[in-house]
């Protein structure tokens, strides 16, 4: 173990002794992170354009269904969970049905933007012109405008107005029948009449412009200026891109070490091949983590968020770095020259990064590109970062992404270790 550490430290010392490496590790990524972060912040595309909202309907009536439909119409950025969950499980529900307890927990931890609970008796209350509470849970400050709350209010206002109209109409009807001495209407006819009035008034209210309009740029209102959101995208994005540059660059170094016979000298030492390989893997893993830390430090200084689960964030970083390290070792045996290695590093980094959403969020690309993007490990890392940073997710939320990255790493390592060229 001590020998492995000695080799890792020595290789890091050599890496840092080369000025060109410092430019690649420090200067360029830092500049890019800032530039991309600011630009994305300016165009307001920094964050997810969809908001995850849990909705529990304990009423299950036609009227509660109308409320839900209204809510969708009021703000198409809302993804109502579990009703509107997509194939990618945007709701992060997994297989479990949504329970009140877990939904409250999700809202409290910020993994969802809000939880809306429609109580049983909602329809009855509306019809009876009674008071009823819709429970709304959210992390965001109730004094600050929240897109979800605004949408809900607008919808409820309409429902309320419609219900007043119905109430008035009902009273009118009763008075009319009493005054004209007509036989009282049977209950069924009366209810049908009132419902049609309710729906008609809903309709009319809906056709009016809603009192509040939702804008994407307001997606994250945590009292910070809009541009800092850009770093939530550029930090993980540029971090992952430069992890690829730095770690994949190891292909050329491994080749050089065999050419200059320093690898062979290591093998003439009383060391096992496994120890040498472990040390070399350790070197590139360490460099990758250093690269993430550099970019994240710059992001932090510029206002990037890190979510609320640092160990989970570290785990995602480590899984991605390990995956790229494995890719490096899987490709290294096929490299014939340093020029070839450099070309491959550029090709891989510059194609896998945008494909995986390192430059801009995958949310804004067409569906098929998003699907295609998931061949890139960057996409899985960015998904996980988004879960942690935007949705305050925890370890369990990013387990699938970590799993995919580690599985890819395992497969690539098997190839790399089997064909590693000692001779």
């Amino acid at each position: 173990m001590r020998s492995i550490l000695t080799i890792i430290l020595n290789d890091l010392k050599i890496f840092f002794a080369q000025r060109g490496n410092l430019v690649g590790l420090l200067v360029i990524p830092v500049l890019l992170t800032l530039v991309v972060g600011w630009s994305i912040g300016q165009i307001g595309g920094g964050g997810p354009t969809r908001l995850r909202v849990d909705l529990i309907d304990n009423d299950q009536t036609e009227l509660s269904a109308i409320l839900i439909e209204e809510l969708r119409a009021a703000n198409d950025a809302l993804v109502l969970c579990p009703l509107d969950n997509d194939a990618d499980d945007f709701c992060r529900l997994g297989e479990d049905p949504l329970q009140l307890d877990s939904a409250i927990e999700r809202a409290r931890s910020g993994r969802t933007s809000a939880l809306i609970v429609i109580p049983a008796g909602y329809a009855a209350a509306l019809e009876g012109f009674e008071r009823i509470n819709i429970d709304y849970y959210s992390l965001s400050d109730p004094l600050l405008p929240s897109p979800v709350l605004q949408s809900l209010n607008a919808v409820l206002q309409r429902a309320g107005s419609a219900s007043i109209t119905t109430g008035v109409a009902g009273a009118l009807l009763d008075n009319l029948t009493a005054a004209t001495d007509l036989p009282p209407l049977d209950k069924e006819t009366r209810d049908g009449f009132l419902r049609s009035i309710y729906l008609r008034s809903q309709e009319m209210l809906t056709e009016q412009p809603p009192p509040v309009r939702f804008r994407v740029a307001d997606a994250d209102n945590e009292g910070e200026d809009g541009s800092s959101n850009g770093f939530n995208q550029s930090g993980p994005g540029m971090g992952s891109l430069y992890v690829m540059f730095t770690v994949l660059g190891g292909m050329a170094v491994l080749l050089r070490e065999r050419r200059q016979w320093t690898l062979q000298r290591l093998m003439a030492l009383p060391l096992s091949r496994a120890q040498i390989l472990a040390a070399k893997i350790g070197v590139y893993f360490t460099l990758g983590m250093i690269q993430y830390f550099i970019v994240f430090a710059v992001g932090a200084a510029a206002g990037m968020d890190f979510g609320s689960d640092p160990p989970a964030l570290l785990a995602v970083m480590a899984a991605f770095v390990l995956c790229i390290t494995a890719l490096t070792f899987a490709l290294a045996p096929w490299i014939k020259s340093e020029g070839q290695a450099r070309g491959l590093v550029l090709l891989l980094s510059l194609s896998l990064a945008p494909l995986g959403g390192a430059w801009w969020p995958l949310e804004i690309v067409p569906e098929f590109m998003r699907t295609l993007g998931h061949i890139s490990p960057v996409a899985w890392a960015m998904n996980a970062f988004q879960d942690l940073i935007w949705f305050n997710g925890g370890f369990t939320d990013v387990l699938p992404e970590i799993g995919v990255l580690l599985a890819a790493a395992a497969v690539l390592f098997i190839f790399g270790i089997r064909s590693f060229k000692y001779e």
Partner: protein
Amino acid sequence: MQLMVETRNLRKTYSRPDGSTIEAVKGVDLEIRQGEIFSLLGPNGAGKTTTISMISGLVTPTEGDATIGGFSITTQSMQAKRLMGFVPQEIALYPELSARQNLAFFGRMYGLGGKALSRRVYELLEFVDLADRQKDRIDTFSGGMKRRVNLAAGLLNSPPLIYMDEPTVGIDPQSRRRILDTVKLLRDEQGMTVLYTTHLMEEAEELSDRVGIMDHGEIIAMGTQAELTQQVGEEDRLEFTIGAQEIAEDLVERVQHQTAGVTRILSNPPEQISDDSSESTPARLIIFAKRGRTALPQIIQTLDAADVDIQSVAVREPDLEAVFLALTGRALRD
């Protein structure tokens, strides 16, 4: 006499990218005794580096095994490697690090640390006369200086056995002299066993207690220098450098029949030194003869009569070059 290195039927077959295979070493049996300098002498491509790589654990033999101080290099490689130092043919140092940093790193890998490490590193820098340049990066060193640090790196663990693979390639005569003296010093003052490879007959002659001559992956002769030269008998070697011209078959036959004592004649046509060079090695005529000095006047007369342009002639007594010539029909440097 105790054996330090013993190899049995060492073989290495490489496969080329095009699918063909090359047998770089074809069943080598070596016995290197404790405290001797053993040279592997052979032209480029003979398989010297591959042999050393196998007995130092860099390359897994395709077949066969070797023991170092009794430890098998394939099954007890850790113990075996602790007994040896290794000076590869390449400058196996980190160019970005200083001489001292390089030695300190490899020293640490042998488990040295603290005072003992710095003492050993300084001792070796003094030994190769580079203490004043210890803080300079390797990539600022001359070829000769790099070779000396390369050598020092093989001595860090004070091993009883050291391998040196062509340690004088590409350096100036002064540095070469220094290294050859160092090798002798290691044997004479520290009792080390040295396995030295070279393609230069002079180096093998100066250093070796025993020599193994290697060609095309095989040891074609092995023994002390006296034993080896006896194999070629008492013949002297007459080396004629001649102008660029073909030597006719019948002239060769005439020389052979008309001169008493001539046993064999080799004629090497001129060769281009390299593809992009207009220079070429002069044509040579090599004649083996008993009592060469006596035969010389008669041979010159015959060649003169055939209008051969003789530029120089040398008479050599039996040496390792002659052994190689006799066994392969080629000169070592070809």
